[in-house]
């Protein structure tokens, strides 16, 4: 965890992205840093040293995270970008209700601050995370739209820190499916785009509907792994029926496209009832198919795992099942200021408590991502 110190009330909040190594100077030179938080505080009337401490303090940790006697590089493969206006009203209200005080006083300002590339990089810096992956999203019924074009633009702001996953619209598939597939094929070849993002429950298409299997074909041909949200989602406007949430419905696609990597996001966790949900189904699929990977993001947060038992259980079970080499770290941030770092701390604690070795933790935190997405593993 990072340390904090009191910042003078009238001095600018330091640009965390400027404070460190040369690889970050490119970001620093083109961006002013996490101004959004200062704006939020101004709006909220909390320009005081105390409020500054609330916002993350000022000290930026060295890159990496401590694990046992080692310091490990980290890639966070699940980060959101976009604009508040791209989120439906009901989901805006839901999100605002989850921002901690004082950030909930002006949720649009908060979101604008942390959903930009600059905001995400600041969160990565504060957490000591080397690189992150920004997702495009096309889910107008539920979580909204963050376009491929915006994602590519955001990745380009900090190409040495960010990668991206492309997505596509599926809600007028009969008329527009072919065009969407063609656009996806183009987008996954854009600079910095390393894979595909899908969320059947948010996007409202069945996991076993063969009309959409062309998505997996494109991904396989381009050797771009597909990240799929699995399990019931807490957001308004989702489809929580099993064909949209239960990864067992993905098996036909997984078997039909062995060259395509399927990353089962959230490992089937039930965010509605805050239970393990379809986790064991994910384990079974990963054991059965070498092209299945696991990603345990968000489920271990304070809000989704109030007892703190589920994330350690899941990380322990993954190790017991021999699936450490098939597990990729992600947070599902930025969510709210500080979330990215907090989730990393929770995950490393869960791995420590369940007996992960340093090498196993390194695999989960960066090595598996680099291997699967065919990118260079970050070093410290």
């Amino acid at each position: 965890m990072h340390s904090s110190h009191v910042q003078a009330a009238d001095s600018p909040i330091p640009d965390a992205s400027c404070a460190h190594a040369s690889e970050r100077e490119r970001v620093c030179s083109s961006t002013p840093g996490p101004r959004g938080w200062r704006v939020v505080l101004e709006v909220a009337g909390f320009i005081t040293p105390v409020a500054t401490v609330i916002t993350l303090g000022c000290a930026q940790p060295e890159p990496g995270v401590d694990f046992r006697d080692a310091r490990l590089a980290v890639v966070d493969m699940h980060l959101h970008q976009g604009e508040w206006q791209g989120v439906p009203g009901s989901t805006q209200e839901f999100l605002a209700s989850r921002f901690p005080f004082p950030f909930n006083l002006n949720p649009e300002q908060t979101a604008s601050g942390i959903l930009s590339a600059e905001g995400v990089v600041a969160e990565l810096d504060a957490a000591g995370i080397s690189r992150g992956v920004l997702l495009a999203v096309y889910a107008p019924r539920s979580v909204g739209v963050a376009t491929n074009e915006d994602m590519v633009e955001q990745v380009a702001v900090a190409p040495d820190r960010l990668w991206g996953l492309a997505s596509l619209r599926v809600d007028d598939w009969s008329a527009g499916g072919e065009a969407q597939l063609a656009q996806l094929d183009e987008m996954v070849q854009a600079p910095g785009v390393v894979g595909v993002k899908l969320a059947h429950t948010h996007m409202h298409f069945r996991m076993d509907d063969p009309r959409y299997f062309g998505i997996y074909e494109v991904a396989g041909l381009r050797q771009k792994p597909v990240y799929l949200h699995t399990g019931p989602s807490p957001f308004p406007g989702t489809n929580a029926e099993p064909p949209y949430t239960d990864p067992a419905f993905l098996e036909a696609a997984i078997a039909a496209y062995p060259e395509t990597i399927f990353i089962l996001g959230h490992v089937g966790y039930d965010f509605i009832n805050k239970q393990l949900g379809y986790f064991e189904t994910c384990v079974t699929l990963a054991q059965k198919y070498p092209n299945v990977y696991l990603e345990p993001s968000a489920l271990g947060s304070e809000g989704s795992d109030p007892t703190g038992e589920h994330l350690p259980h899941i990380m322990g079970r993954i190790r017991e099942a021999g699936l450490v080499e098939r597990t990729i770290y992600g947070s599902d941030g930025p969510q709210s200021p500080g979330f990215v770092g907090d989730y990393l701390a929770r995950t490393t604690a869960a791995m420590e408590s369940t007996g992960y070795t340093v090498e196993e933790a390194r695999a989960v935190l960066s090595g598996n991502f680099a291997r699967v997405f065919q990118v260079e593993e970050p070093t410290l």
Partner: protein
């Protein structure tokens, strides 16, 4: 014309935030026939759903906006009443599928292949919808059948 039955102030106390929004609900009578294509078993319970054909604006626009759904009995004549929010949209969709194996899930893994169909109703005059459906599309959710 049926009159407004419910004008409710929905206070989402169950959520952390409060939604202070007046939602006017109309009772709509749904009358019609649900038949099953011969290649499928005809025994089972019909799951009937109402949808608006379109929702949202701009890049947040999308088709097939779910309103409500429930089980309405075996295939045949349907006479049901549903509460529908009134917000100016008039094009409704009636969607149905047949729960052959009784598990409540359309084409569950390892379960029966179950048929579905959807039909658009341009307007619901006098809050009455008449429709006819032949369930003949295997394992198709509403979003897969419209537009």
């Amino acid at each position: 014309m049926r009159h407004v039955l419910v004008s409710a102030l929905l206070i989402a106390a169950a959520t952390a935030g409060c939604i202070n929004e007046d939602v006017t609900l109309y009772e709509v009578r749904v009358l019609g026939e649900v038949a099953v294509a011969p290649e499928f078993p005809s025994a089972g319970e019909v799951q009937l759903g109402l949808y608006f054909a379109r929702a949202g604006e701009g890049e947040l626009a999308y088709p097939v906006d779910s309103i409500t759904a429930r089980e309405v009995g075996p295939p045949g004549f349907v006479d049901e009443r549903f509460l529908v929010p009134y917000d100016g949209r008039e094009e409704l969709l009636v969607y149905a599928w047949l729960d052959i194996d009784g598990d409540g899930v359309l084409c569950a893994v390892g379960g029966a292949e179950e048929p579905a169909a959807i039909v658009a109703v341009d307007e619901f005059t006098d809050f009455r919808v008449e429709f006819s459906l032949l369930l003949d599309q295997p394992c198709a959710g509403a979003e897969a059948l419209y537009p």
